[in-house]
Symmetry: C2
Subunit: 402 residues, 2 copies
Amino acid sequence: MPDTDTAKKLQQKPATDIADAVSYRIGIIGGGQLAKMTAMAALQLGCDVVVLERKKVSPAATLATHSLIGDWDLPEELLKLAAHVDIVTLENEFVNAESLKVLTDHGYTLFPSAGTMALIQDKYLQKQTYSGAGIGVTEFRAVSSPDDIESAGKAFGWPMILKKRRNSYDGKGNYTVSSAADIEPAWKQLDGAVNELYIEAYCPFTMELAVIITLSRNGEMVTYPVVETIQKDHICHVVKAPAAIDKEVADLAAETARRAIIEIDATGSFGVEMFLTQDNKIILNEIAPRVHNSGHYTIEACVCSQFENHVRAILGWPLGSTQMVRPAAVMVNLLGTDLGPGYPVGIDRALVVPGAHVHIYGKTKSGKGRKMGHVTAVSDTLETAYAAARQAAEYITFGNKP
Amino acid sequence: MPDTDTAKKLQQKPATDIADAVSYRIGIIGGGQLAKMTAMAALQLGCDVVVLERKKVSPAATLATHSLIGDWDLPEELLKLAAHVDIVTLENEFVNAESLKVLTDHGYTLFPSAGTMALIQDKYLQKQTYSGAGIGVTEFRAVSSPDDIESAGKAFGWPMILKKRRNSYDGKGNYTVSSAADIEPAWKQLDGAVNELYIEAYCPFTMELAVIITLSRNGEMVTYPVVETIQKDHICHVVKAPAAIDKEVADLAAETARRAIIEIDATGSFGVEMFLTQDNKIILNEIAPRVHNSGHYTIEACVCSQFENHVRAILGWPLGSTQMVRPAAVMVNLLGTDLGPGYPVGIDRALVVPGAHVHIYGKTKSGKGRKMGHVTAVSDTLETAYAAARQAAEYITFGNKP
């Protein structure tokens, strides 16, 4: 494993050791799979990467030049990272926005900005912003008591989704309230006494859509194809690119996503999640202020991936083409099933499937629903791509090293 | 930079720290760009990489889990590497084959084998092997004095190429002997009193061809498209994929390459260089026992790159498709011009060129003819791909950090 005893190591080996050859040194807050894939794109372009992670072992630490271990919510840890790099970015949306602001206050370069992150981190504020800009969202309101939920039920109708305003992902922090009987358990599970909550009307959708937008610090913007995302238990399972929808609907979704990105002044690659309703309306769900699971397919399927474009965007380099190189691509997530070791089993079987590209993140521990890797298959039709990706994905499990 | 004070570091952090999550840990002898690109493919598949390099700073050290610093010709350094990995491979053909043999003697797994390397390292022996197998090569003979060269000149006709049997690459170790007057300076420059030399008849070719073959330890074999390589001063400048030749010629070249690979019992991805003569004969030039510059285009242009297939081959995993994803690809090397710092300048301009994929290796020092990076452009025709790759490559230079 690379440098883990961080501050000490960095003092021993000043950043200048290879800085002569590195076009930019990028600091990434977080060392998960999104950081790993971003780092791969950065390394190809002659950049290198320093990662700040809480844990000693992380997917991106393996290929980072330095790996700093620290709590990314602490301004001093963020400043330590920033001092060793040319630019800071992040791979998750949970870094305390107040702490992030310290970086800019000290003259360091951070993309996306602390302001964008503050806005995104509060899902209620996020929704207010889109709504205020005239972008279609589901009905929503802040709730501070079980009674508020009951009132909302009368106004919106059931079911509704109770959500934490902050720190929720992959369905953690969401509770579907199907009737008044669910109010009490929902309030309890999301700990309404402690957490700020809000509630949304359920959006009866015919399809969930997503699109990756990259906005450069120079103002250049590119839009990836609109894809269909298939969730299970609030976790993304499958992405089909492009979504099998009419061009007008796709154009509307892309345009909605672009408007939302501009509204929150995002810089970098962002994932925009939307609902398609029965009457072909586009309802904005939420934005992930970072490269996104719905864009992993772009590694093999697009001229320039969401990861490379994120790097280009934050460095102010021209953006690459988002065009697909083949007509169809399907990505299937490799999700853990049980708590335990994360050793990947069955890669050899998966690689037999023609056109299946296997990505294993290198997490030491698996867990139920944990994202351990993904498979992307590129083909001439969504059907053949889906069959290949699904088949390859089924062969891979995570568990004990044989 | 990751671990450089190697043995000590490895003792502090046993390989088990992330081994639970790593499908295979691959040791690569050499830390240059070939190791870097191989490591990228390995990391995606959930493997990680330990590099053995002579220098502290190398392109692959940046993304290796560990980087061992040592002389790869010393058996003890090779054993140190092998002790920390599941399998050993190499990115250059100059590692002493006798030293490599020690790895197998100690029960470690090495691909390609020490035997293959011994055969390849001696270009004279290599030629004898192909010739003995009935594969077309130019006339050649060992020479141990200037007089021998003169006799060869009478037998083969002028010009001829005088070559060191070992340790030559990129034209270093070759001397074109145009007439008897060149014998003395050629003998002197290649130091015939010290080095074993041999001489080859000049092969009047119409095109230089190359093909990457991957042979798995399981016996599975795949062949990449036959490409045209354009050399300048014995250094590969441009690769055009596929070569603009008739199918029968391409089939003959591919078949010749496969026969040669089988003859030397190669395991992994190998670059086979050939001449196409005026009468459409294929003359085998030489084999590089490793991933090869003529196969860099496979990263963007083929379903599975030469690097990923090398990893699959040595691990015994099924091989990926070598099919091109677009009709044409052209790779242009980014060569240094002067001795000095290796900071890449002009990436931002190069990335404007549509379809150009920029690879910067991250070498601290540039030098005349040194391979600092490459650009690959993928397109519908060789002409448009070449124009894009050449234009992007022209924008990039290496020098001082601005």
